[in-house]
Structure formats: C-alpha cells, structure tokens
Symmetry: C2
Subunit: 260 residues, 2 copies
C-alpha cells in the first residue's frame, strides 16, 4: 500500500508559472528523498554498500523515477555514492563519527576506525598574539608553542589543526612523537593531571583555496570549522585550537537534553 | 616588543621551489591570522564593528602587511567583513549562536537576537517512508505529518527544516500557528509533557542548487546539516528533523567534558 511523498501532485496546470512550480516541487521531493537515503547510507544500512535499483527505491518511497534519479544526483554531488556500470549505485563515502558530548583527541575518537597519523607542518615557539594570550590567560607577548598539523586516518586527510599551547606545557612537546600521538594525551602526561572541560564552537564554512589544497579537497568544499579552548581539570586553559575538518569525512554526533 | 608569527622567515631562497615555498608559508600565516581575527569578529570585540587599520593589525600580530591583506581577503571571501571606502574594514556578518548542549527550538534559542518566523512551504499527512517509520517506532506505512519550513530571524533566512511527526501528535499542528511558534513548544502542549532527549548529527555540506536558492545563498554555500531525532520525556520518539542551517548565519556552541 504505497502512498505518495508529500506534494506529489497531478500535473493539471499549464504555462511557465506552472512549470516553475512543478520544478520546485520535484526539487523539494528529491531533497526529502535524498535526506532519507543519506541517513541510511551514513548508517551503513545498505547491504554490501549497494543501493537498491531505482524502481525499488521508487516503490518503497512512493516516489516517481524522476524524483529518485534527482535524489541520487544530489547524493552523487555530495560524493556519498557513485554509479558503477553493471553494479548500480554504490556507497563511496568514508565518513567517520566524532563525539560531540565528550572531550577526546582524534586518535582516541577514531581508534575503532583506523590509525590516525599527524603530519607536523609547523612547530615553533612564538610570541602569543593578544587574543591568544588573553584566552590562555598569559601576559601579552608571552611565549606559546604553535603547532600546525595535517591529520590523517589511514592515510586519508581528515583535518588541518592549528594549536597554541602555553610554553610550560608546550616545551616537552618539542621532543615528543607528535606524528603518532594526540596532543591531548601528551598534555595530560606533562601536566600530570587529566583535562577538564573545553568550550567549543562549530561552524560550516567554505574552504579557502589554500586550506582546500592542504586537505586535498576541491576549492570551496564545505569544512566543519571547530574552535576549541581546552582546560586542565584544575581549570587552567592549556590548548587553543582552530580545526578544519573535511565536511565529507566527519559527522559530529551528540545527545541533547531538554533540561540540564 | 613585537615578535613574528610562526614561519615568518627571511627570503633567502631563490628559484621556483623557493617561490612556491614562500607562497605556502604566506598562505599559512594568512590563515593563522584570519582565524584569530575571525574569533574577535564573531565575539563582537571590535568597537563599532570596525577593524583596526592594516598597519595596526600588522604591528599587533607581528605580521607583514601582505599577510594582513591576505588574511582580510579570506575573511571577506567568508563574508565576515567588507571594505568600505573612507571607513576601512567593517564587520558585516550576522552570525547567531545556537546551543549545542541543550535541546531548544530556534525561537527559544534566538529570543535575545530577534524574532523567528517560519514560512510553511509544505504541510501534509504522508505515509511514512520505511526509515522514518522505523525511527519514529511506527508500523511501516503509518501516517505521519510532514512539514517543511523556511525559518527566518528578523526576515533573514536561517534554515530549511524538514520534519516528520507521528500523526497523533501531528494532527493538532494542522490548525496551529506554525508561522510564529516552534514545533517543539506545540508538541509539548499536545503531548502534555516536556521533551526529553534528542540524538543529533551535525555535518558540513555544500548546498545543492535548489536548497541554496531557497535559503537565498550562493550555490555550493556551506551549510550545517543537522539531523535530529527528538523524544518525549517518556522516551517516545516524536520528531524527526533534517535541518539545513546557512553556514554564514549560525555558530554552534557547546561545552565538552573529558569525563562523563
């Protein structure tokens, strides 16, 4: 007993206004269907990573074949699926979950998915610019360690991280194995106490040309921009980060509560 | 006592390799500076919304004028600032904070920033597609209310929301003032109990042409894609949503804890 997706109406209108309206409705329906398929794709719900045939999807979702095709086009444009001759539409995304409700380093977060390695692009002591000194509660111009890393999961670029650390915590990092360790872990070792809390903001931005090139993604690609100020358990701020995650590789997951 | 930003080195190399290296270092420095300025901009730290003169920024951050110019170019490309003749570089972004650690409707979240209105693009009962029925714990093909809304803050498009609600909760919404009320509030009225928790995922994606047009943003603009399944306090799932926030208008804010 198949019913139609919303707004799947008869084509009783004529003329350019009606045609524009039909195009809009078709695009709306394609988006609705794409959102549902995208959830199934990211949840690994299609056996063998192969989507059902267009006719099957059309029947299951009560959509027209045109709508199904347009929805698959949207998912292809997002690089979630590809059409493979003789096979059909297959899932090609490699998207990894990142917890939004717990403070963790990347290697900790993704340990079940593969090995995180870090290419250290820059590491050097610098005079803290005013906003950095301010947030790390240091005197203006105090020395901080600046670290810039390209982070990969099993060789695949995931994020570009810019990090500022007060020098008392940062100094031992100069000799540490940053290629294979989360900075969080190294900070906890040096400070001899666990991390406490972090204030975070998350935004979606289009990558500038240079950041995109470093991340090996197309110019203008959507990145999740995370800014995070992390404190030790004693409340002292120790790590200010600006992280650009490739939007096509990371999904943030969290649980929200109505009352705190 | 100004020190230089990391990697601000002398130009002692010659030839194309050295030139490429210089370009990379300059681009890295511009990104570092842009990230710091962007935090100040979003935090409303520049009096009157006017950035200091390039020379002042250069002195304060120990950067060259070229780096400052390139950083401002990045911020302009993100539409955070504009250059105004006779005034200088001014903040033009309208970016609003959205809590990541509490479950709230948009009007609740943004009540201090302006008035949220909702343009209802579609509202109609539909047979729940399989993944929707599954997540809302309904029998396959059960009727759900489908609502599609373009949400604005003081007239400015913020998000495009696709919502599925079980019919027992959804039916009263057909006669409700959806233009001026959060669906969360209406659900709580109908269910006569508060909401409980919501599972959420957040991603950065490039908007498809049609979604971008609805949001009045350029094609390919970065959107924050939020998928959220909300439960009543008694644990019953009541609201499945797919929300596209304009990336240039919303910043998600939250607090992370090392231990739960």
């Amino acid at each position: 007993m198949v019913r139609h997706m919303p707004a799947e109406r008869t084509r009783q209108h004529a003329g350019p206004v009606a045609a524009a309206r039909r195009r809009r409705l078709r695009a709306d329906r394609a988006r609705q269907l794409a959102d549902l398929l995208r959830h199934q794709i990211l949840g690994g719900r299609f056996p063998g990573g192969v989507l059902p045939h267009e006719d099957m999807i059309a029947a299951e979702y009560g959509a027209s074949r045109n709508t199904v095709r347009q929805a698959l086009d949207l998912l292809r444009a997002e690089q979630l699926v590809e059409r493979q001759p003789g096979v059909g539409t297959v899932v090609v995304c490699r998207k990894y979950p990142h917890a939004l409700d717990r403070l963790m380093g990347l290697a900790e977060t993704l340990h079940a998915h593969g090995r995180v390695t870090n290419e250290v692009r820059t590491i050097s002591p610098v005079a803290a610019p005013a906003p950095v000194a301010d947030r790390l509660r240091l005197p203006p111009g105090a020395e901080v360690l600046y670290v810039e890393r390209l982070r990969r999961l099993d060789g695949l670029p995931l994020s570009l991280d810019l990090t500022y650390i007060p020098m008392d915590i940062g100094l031992p990092l100069l000799g540490a194995d940053l290629e294979n360790n989360d900075i969080f872990r190294l900070i906890e070792e040096t400070a001899q106490q666990p991390l406490g809390t972090a204030e975070m903001t998350l935004e979606a931005v289009n990558a500038d040309a240079h950041s995109a090139a470093v991340l090996q993604a197309p110019r203008g690609t959507a990145v999740l921009m995370l800014e995070r100020l992390t404190h030790l358990a004693d409340g002292c701020p120790v790590d200010l980060e600006f992280i650009r995650f490739r939007g096509d590789r990371i999904t943030m997951r969290g649980l929200l509560r109505r009352t705190l």
